[in-house]
């Protein structure tokens, strides 16, 4: 025979001030946990959206970042001639040589300046990505013009159309804003490959080459053909792997968030224990009555435990509600691979929310265990005599 659950609900309602205050304390630690998970989730979404599963990034041998890599013009010609590369409508192979560097610009979060990726590419490079222009026009070959990503335009006051940005050997005019969806490309700035490589004294080479395979089987074949080619000194990475590795950029913040949430939860757990002990003390007579009616120790234990879990779950739900608006918040972290900032939106998904709820339930069960045991162990006669 179990004690009806409505008994627990009624008890929480009777002590509403205490209930709300305790739940709120739990809610804040749950909110911090959910926020940390949402941060990494958002970052993962951005990087996943950046890559095309059929695209391969060619870097110098052993290279793991575009910034620290160089692929010569001769190497580019060899890569371009490989079999299995997809072609565009005009029959040109989808291979893009690109030059990557960073520019330090003041942002809203960092007025002292944060690095932004500048990428030099040709029209085929644009074609190979899911980007569309949302304002202005594309840069012209041979002109000192750049197009900025949407997130960059929002976060960097100097990244506006018609503004000029100084990098390389002089000023560059911003002529357009592009949108690559929720992807890392929105944090980049693009210009003409030849113009940018001249500015960085790298006319004879590029940082990386992006190629698209016709199908997954050719992708694998291309990978081996490039890596095993004795004329080339190159490694390859699928675009997905390259961007996935950068999700680690969020790890320090995630670690900090989880660390804080766990410590806060220990504090809130003690508070819950206190509240539940008080509840047990106040309801001595009721416990005695329940026992006299024939409820077993187990069912009384379960009843108090579920009350504590219910209290914590209430806090969990509240915490999730507090964290939910983060879905509309954009922030940025620096990637150590691209040595620049990636803007992303928090993503409070089902996984983060359910982790928050489970966390709250565990907290409630741990905090309520001792008081529930005390309630169950009460002697009937002593309990009934209590005030």
């Amino acid at each position: 025979m179990t004690v009806p659950f409505s008994y627990n609900i009624r008890n929480l309602v009777v002590r509403k001030t205490t209930t709300v205050m305790t739940a709120f304390g739990i809610a804040l630690s749950v909110a911090i946990l959910v926020a940390s998970l949402a941060l990494v989730n958002g970052l993962r979404t951005v990087f996943a959206n950046t890559s095309n599963p059929l695209q391969l990034l060619v870097l110098r041998k052993g290279g793991n970042s575009e910034l620290g890599s160089t692929v010569s013009i001769e190497d580019f010609a060899i890569v371009r001639s490989k079999a299995g590369i997809a072609v565009d409508r005009s029959g040109q192979p989808l291979t893009s040589q690109e030059l990557v560097n960073v520019v330090n610009l003041p942002s809203l979060d960092n007025p002292k300046g944060m690095n932004v990726t500048v990428r030099g590419l040709s029209p085929v490079g644009i074609e190979m990505r899911k980007v569309r222009l949302v304002a202005g026009r594309w840069f012209q070959p041979g002109q000192r013009e750049v197009v900025v990503g949407k997130a960059m335009a929002h976060r960097y006051p100097s990244a506006r159309i018609a503004h000029r940005i100084r990098f390389g050997k002089g000023d560059w005019e911003i002529v357009g804003v592009m949108d690559g969806g929720q992807s890392a490309l929105n944090s980049e700035m693009w210009g003409d490959f030849n113009q940018i490589s001249a500015d960085y004294n790298q006319q004879d080479s590029s940082s990386s080459v992006l190629i698209r395979a016709t199908d997954p089987v050719s992708l694998d074949a291309l990978k081996h053909s490039i890596e095993d080619d004795p004329r080339l000194n190159a490694s390859t990475m699928t675009e997905s792997d390259y961007y996935q590795s950068q999700t680690a950029s969020g790890a320090p913040l995630e670690f900090l968030g989880i660390f804080v949430a766990v410590i806060m939860a220990i504090g809130s757990g003690f508070a819950t224990t206190n509240i539940m002990y008080a509840a047990v003390a106040r309801r001595g007579k009721e416990i005695g009555t329940l026992k006299a009616l024939g409820f077993s120790e187990g069912s009384i234990l379960l009843s108090f435990l579920s009350e504590s879990v219910l209290l914590a779950a209430l806090g969990g739900v509240l915490g999730c509600l507090i964290a939910l608006p983060l879905n509309w918040v954009t922030t940025g972290v620096g990637s150590m691979v691209s040595f620049s900032e990636i803007a992303f939106r928090f993503h409070v998904g089902i996984a983060a929310l359910s982790s928050g709820l489970i966390f709250a339930v565990v907290l409630g069960a741990a905090g309520g265990a001792l008081p529930a045991r005390a309630a169950a162990k009460k002697e009937i006669l002593i309990a009934l005599r209590e005030a």
Binding site: T18, S29, G68, G113, I263, N274, G334
Partner: protein, 395 residues
């Protein structure tokens, strides 16, 4: 007030279990606040700086760290008053053996061997090894951490294959230097002349470097030197940005994201939770004692005295929690610092994490404040309730 202390203590010790849990709860939260304060201090206000660091200035291109500066700037900087020594630096970023193995990844810099140890007097190396490094063009030196990690002994042959720069370097380890104990980075320095010779004759990057490290005569000269350098090159095609080494290191903190906002939000949330917890506890215990309050009032205790006793009780509990919490925080800071010692580059500020007396005092003050604020509502309740009401109370 002191004469009420025994009564306050009695009240505190009456329900020891509750007091214990409340103190524990406050202690855990205050410990967290302490660690976060210490982290904020280490990240944004600079933890401990070595005397050598305080005298050093980093000069890099105004636009980005990755943009080059002409090597000739060295002579110009050397002539600026207050400058004792200058050395240049170029990031090589090559790969050693199998670069897929994280063990084989370390920082590699092309520098001028004669001036390196002048600008870094805290790097200790045997004089004979230093002499070899200066005299042999293909020589290199490694930090103790790196040499131990890869089992290198002087004489070791090290081949680095260039990344951004197309050059393959065949280096010989001339010696191993010991940086200060707090610096555990894996780093290798080699002669910039050797890199210059390894690049193709037409490569415009042969005479370019990326940073200059400047040692000032004394730390008071640093800010003047910064201005002088930046003003000198402001109108040139390669404008510079000069900053104290410490500020330069801290600029990497922005890579972690908007930490300031994150830390502020967390500290706010923890403080608010603490307020909720202590107010709740105190309300509970005051409500239980309503009848006693009535009796005290009948005996002639004034409303003010009753309020004072509740405030005193809360403050004592909170301060006890605060003291325990800051001791815990001190321990936790040390633990985190030692755990992070081997963390990669930009988290390396964390090893400087420690709970300074100021931060400890701040956290205890915060606990005191929280105790005080949380006691107001229950205290006023106890003081205001009339004798008749209190005596009728049936908790």
């Amino acid at each position: 007030m002191a004469s009420y202390l025994p009564l306050i203590l009695r009240n505190i010790l009456r329900n020891r279990r509750r007091t214990g849990f409340t103190v524990a709860s406050v202690a855990v939260s205050i410990c967290l606040v302490g660690v976060l304060f210490a982290l904020t201090r280490a990240l944004f206000f600079g933890g401990e700086t070595t005397p050598g660091q305080a005298k050093r200035v980093v000069v890099h291109h105004k636009i980005a760290l990755t943009q080059d500066l002409p090597v000739g700037y060295e002579q110009t900087i050397q002539k600026i008053p207050g400058v004792r020594a200058v050395t240049s630096l170029r990031w090589f970023g090559g790969s050693y053996k199998d670069p897929g193995d994280p063990k084989n990844r370390f920082a590699q810099f092309a520098i001028e061997p004669k001036t390196l140890f002048e600008v870094y007097p805290e790097f200790h190396i045997r004089q004979s090894e230093r002499d070899t490094f200066v005299s042999q063009k293909a020589a290199c030196v490694a930090s103790r951490a790196l040499a131990e990690k890869l089992g290198w002994k002087p004489g070791e042959r090290i081949t680095l294959v260039g990344g951004m720069l197309r050059a393959t370097l065949e280096l010989t380890l001339a010696g191993i230097f010991d940086p200060p104990p707090s610096d555990t980075s894996s780093v290798l320095y080699f002669n910039r002349d050797y890199l210059r010779d390894s690049l193709l004759p037409g490569d415009p990057r042969r005479d370019m470097v990326q940073q200059f490290y400047v040692e000032a005569d004394n730390k008071d000269a640093v800010s003047e030197i910064n201005h002088q350098i930046d003003d000198t090159f402001a109108e040139s095609p390669y404008p510079t940005k000069s900053e104290p080494e410490e500020a330069f290191m801290l600029s990497f903190v922005s890579f972690l994201g908007n930490l300031k906002l994150f830390l502020a939000a967390i500290c706010g949330a923890v403080t608010f939770t603490l307020l909720l917890i202590t107010t709740n506890m105190l309300s509970m215990s005051v409500r239980e004692r309503t009848r006693e309050v009535g009796i005290l009032k009948t005996l002639g205790f004034s409303d003010g005295e009753i309020l004072g006793m509740v405030v005193g009780e809360a403050t004592l509990i909170a301060v006890a929690g605060g003291l325990v919490g800051s001791i815990l925080a001190g321990g936790l800071c040390t633990a985190i610092a030692s755990a992070m010692r081997s963390a990669p580059g930009f988290v390396s500020v964390v090893p400087g994490l420690s709970l300074s007396p100021l931060v400890a005092a701040l956290t205890v003050c915060l606990a005191l404040l929280i105790g005080f604020v949380s006691s107001i509502a229950p205290g006023v309740y106890a003081a205001r309730t009339s004798i008749v009401e209190t005596l009728q109370y049936n908790g």
